[in-house]
């Protein structure tokens, strides 16, 4: 719910309640005032009539001006003044008419007469209706004004808030510049902006330093690795070495290669995680696949694998070129590496997905751990256990859906674009 709607709703409820309470109160007060007014008028009329009788000694024959209709009843003796509200029924089937009646006695030459002056009361229903209309009108007016004011208010006062929100939405951890908030003269917004600024700055700086740390760390690793490697190689060229020494050195070189590869792969994973490969472009995946298969052909033949591929031509996806290379290397490499001698590979590419199937022994590890770092099958002792973690990371980066199943002796990996 938008802030403005929430505020407006509260206001509306408050208005409604105030209106109802006000209406009820008004009803009673008005009713009381009107009743008093009626009473007063009845007394005035009584006085006028009494004056008339006193002056003329008899009752007026016609209705007097400024006098409501009155009823005359002869009476034998004096009756005290009586004021009452009553209901006058002219017909038992109809609702009675609410009236206020004053009864009093006057003495004429003919004797006593009781006079009753009646005044129809304002009907409660009419009063309620009138009040309802008045208050409804007031409500509509109030709500209209409120909405208008709120709208204006949110446009002007809340503007910096919404701008800050929009700005925050565009914030990327990788961005090189700090966020620049629009100046506001409202203290709360200033505090908000100040805090948001320091928060995003901190996040951004931390990220930058982490980024440079990974790069620097990798650099610091690579140089000593290079020194060790080149010395070992130089040592290997020594003509005085016996065969066993050469084998030892070669094994050192090999292990060093693995260490270096490990370092590079971890760095690559971090870089992908940090979204440092942002330059994605449309790449013809069909061609890239053909090229890669061509490159791996010797390996495929070496293991006597039967390759069947159903690759639709000119399938393009948006991806960083280098990352696609890493992706295909790992997917196809695994399909060959963990295949049986004389096994099969099926590759299928269409607009929606890439499916790579290969025959092989079932995994000895739980499937859900397959895409985690340093998780490797017991049959692959010389693997780094980072290949599929890389694949997963790349797929996540581009929101591709990666899944694996083992079915009837087939490992099936699919990437849904």
């Amino acid at each position: 719910m938008k802030l403005i709607n929430k505020a407006t709703r509260s206001f509306l409820i408050a208005c409604l309640m105030a209106s109802i309470a006000g209406g009820v109160l008004c009803y009673f007060i008005l009713k009381k005032i009107l009743a008093e007014e009626d009473t007063e008028r009845l007394y005035i009329q009584k006085n006028k009539l009494e004056d008339f009788v006193k002056t003329n000694g008899k009752l007026p024959e016609n209705d007097l001006p400024f006098l409501d209709r009155f009823w005359v009843y002869p009476t034998k003796n004096y009756k005290p003044v009586e004021l009452k509200d009553t209901v006058l029924r002219t017909n038992p089937h109809h609702d009675g008419l609410e009236i206020k009646q004053i009864a009093f006695c006057v003495k004429t030459a003919d004797g006593y007469y009781q006079i009753k002056i009646r005044k129809a009361l304002y009907e409660s229903e009419d009063l309620i209706e009138a009040l309802l209309a008045a208050f409804a009108g007031l409500m509509v007016l109030l709500v209209g004004m409120l909405l208008f004011a709120n709208y204006r208010l949110s446009r002007s006062i809340w503007k910096p808030f919404y701008q800050s929100l929009d700005l925050l939405q565009t914030f990327k951890i990788t961005q090189k510049e700090a966020l620049v908030f629009e100046k506001s003269n409202i203290l709360e917004f200033q505090t908000l902006q100040k805090n948001l600024f320091s928060l995003t700055e901190q996040v951004r700086r931390e990220y930058q330093s982490l980024k440079s740390f990974t790069e620097n760390a990798s650099h610091e690793f690579q140089t000593p690795l290079a020194v060790i490697g080149s010395n070992l190689e130089l040592l290997l060229q020594d003509n005085n070495l016996v065969e066993s020494q050469m084998q030892q050195i070669a094994s050192l070189i090999e292990s060093l290669g693995k260490l270096s590869k490990l370092n590079q792969t971890l760095l690559l994973l971090t870089k992908i995680e940090n979204r440092q490969f942002e330059t994605a472009k449309s790449i013809n995946l069909s061609e890239a696949l053909f090229e890669k298969l061509n490159l791996l052909d010797v390996w495929i033949q070496h293991k006597n694998l039967v390759l069947e591929s159903y690759i639709s031509p000119n399938i393009s996806i948006q991806i960083n070129e280098y990352l696609l290379d890493v992706l295909l290397n790992n997917l196809l490499g695994n399909a060959i590496k963990y295949n049986l001698i004389g096994g099969k590979i099926n590759i299928e590419l269409n607009e929606r997905n890439l499916i790579i199937k290969n025959t092989g022994n079932p995994l000895t590890m739980p499937t859900e751990q397959l895409f985690e770092r340093f998780q490797k099958d017991s049959s692959a002792s010389d693997s780094l256990g980072l290949g599929l973690a890389l694949v997963k990371q790349i797929c996540d980066t581009y929101s591709f859906r990666l899944s694996y199943v083992f079915e009837n002796g087939w490992h099936i990996l699919s990437v849904v674009f």
Partner: protein
């Protein structure tokens, strides 16, 4: 052939220098930017190997300076920074090649040779090794009067062998040269053997002596004897 090595890591520089000296190159080494600038300002080199990250600045400025001088020297950038930006920038500035640390000395050697070969215009552009004659421009390989048809990988392999003849080549160095560092090296050892077997077969069929010597558990050596 005169080579200038600009590298701040002394231990690495010494091994590179020693290796290149063994290859009968004249190799001079400087460890910082001002020295390097002095050297290239005074002497002519056939090839300059430059590290990007130097104590007093970026090695890329050397590349710029060489290009400004219209030097004919081949330039190979050596860097521990496998940052794509640096690579593209370096090559854009006019460097001939880019090597990421750590690298095999034999790989460096083969790159240096390739750069030098490309820089020698009008010269005799063929490589003779024993009975084998290679024409790098057309990528043709001849044994006597017989033209040997090699696959791309086999040709790369032969070139690598010839560039590093009489050297002990560990398997990892060869497979890295052929397949880059993208595929796990341990995986490529398998079919490296296939490549070598095929190459050897093709050469022997053309009645070329077997120059490829297998060193068990180590790698290979390509030599006349």
């Amino acid at each position: 052939m005169k080579i200038l090595l600009i590298e701040d890591e002394k231990a690495l520089a010494i091994t590179i220098q020693k290796f290149l000296l063994d290859e009968s190159y004249v190799c001079e080494w400087v460890s910082n930017l001002p020295d390097a600038e002095d050297k290239i300002g005074v002497y002519e080199y056939d090839c300059v190997l430059v590290d990007i990250m130097l104590p007093n600045g970026s090695g890329l400025s050397i590349v710029e300076q060489l290009k400004k001088q219209q030097s004919s020297a081949g330039i190979i950038i050596i860097s521990a920074k496998n940052a794509l930006d640096d690579k593209i920038k370096g090559l854009d500035l006019g460097a001939d090649d880019y090597l990421t640390k750590p690298f095999h000395l034999t790989e460096l050697n083969s790159r240096v040779k390739s750069v030098l070969r490309r820089r020698q215009f009008g010269g005799n552009r063929e490589i003779i090794f024993g009975e084998i004659k290679i024409l790098p421009d057309s990528k043709e390989v001849w044994v006597g009067t017989k033209n040997i048809i090699l696959t791309r990988k086999e040709y790369d392999l032969l070139m690598y062998f010839v560039a590093n003849s009489n050297r002990v080549l560990p398997k990892s160095s060869i497979s890295e040269h052929l397949y880059g560092d993208e595929i796990d090296q341990s995986d490529t050892f398998d079919f490296l053997y296939s490549h070598i077997k095929n190459l050897r077969k093709k050469l022997i069929e053309a009645s070329c002596p077997d120059y490829i010597q297998t060193l068990y558990g180590v790698g290979y050596k390509f030599s006349l004897t």
